[in-house]
Symmetry: C2
Subunit: 110 residues, 2 copies
DNA sequence: GCCGTACATCGCCAATCAGTTATATTTCCC
DNA sequence: GGGAAATATAACTGATTGGCGATGTACGGC
């Protein structure tokens, strides 16, 4: 479900940090640039990637561009995770079973 | 929470496909190679990446290596998503509110 | 109208990456 | 023990990526 654009956008720590910052409030490019500690063009490049992936939206306010979070693509990522959830649930189940059965199932190994 | 290794491992479609295949059952390298349509070394390289990220585990069975899913790192990714869930929940709320309020709140725009 | 500010885009470079073929290593089978 | 099968690693290559400084563009204030 989740597009490759979403995945590769999220593969970079700086871009994940931008999203994290945008959960608090929308911010303009200047703010994000100082927060990231990158050059302004570097920041703009990351923002372009995030924009293309649909993870952020821009509002033009005078000469500033205010970026805000658009979490919708993350919902697809959440969907993608669905088939895997049973595995860590099962792991918890297995742990419980293991604790119950330790004494009389000596062949079991982890 | 989720490490960069996890994110970058998942950024590749072939590797995500491997994980998908391993939800059904463990598979050896030969199976995965034909499924991916890559060369055997290419497949091995992806498997190495997944191994390093802790997303798969290997069992040595004779001359074959049977790979199985280890979903634990995906749980961290699930945790990472947590702070964002309220945004698409809120979006649903906003939609509901919009439907309720359409007639008497004409300034609203999406 | 002009200048400064805010941002995007461009052109460049070094590093990483995904793919390949060739080779080494281990195990199974005869 | 010798050969074939399964897999990993090595060495290479072209494409992509993340960073930068330089430049272009649009808006606000004077």
């Amino acid at each position: 479900m989740a597009s490759t654009a979403t995945w590769s956008a999220l593969s970079d720590p700086h871009r994940r940090y931008v999203l994290e910052l945008l959960t608090e409030r929308p911010r303009d490019v200047g703010e994000l640039t100082t927060a990231l500690g990158l050059s302004q063009p570097g920041t703009s490049k990351h923002l372009r990637t995030l924009r293309t992936a649909g993870l952020v939206r821009v509002r033009v306010v005078g000469q500033r561009r205010v970026y805000e979070l658009n979490a919708a693509p993350l919902a697809e990522l959440d969907d993608w995770l669905a088939p895997y959830r049973r595995f860590w649930d099962r792991r918890l189940d297995a742990l419980g079973a293991h604790l119950d059965a330790t004494a009389h199932d000596p062949d079991r190994e982890e």
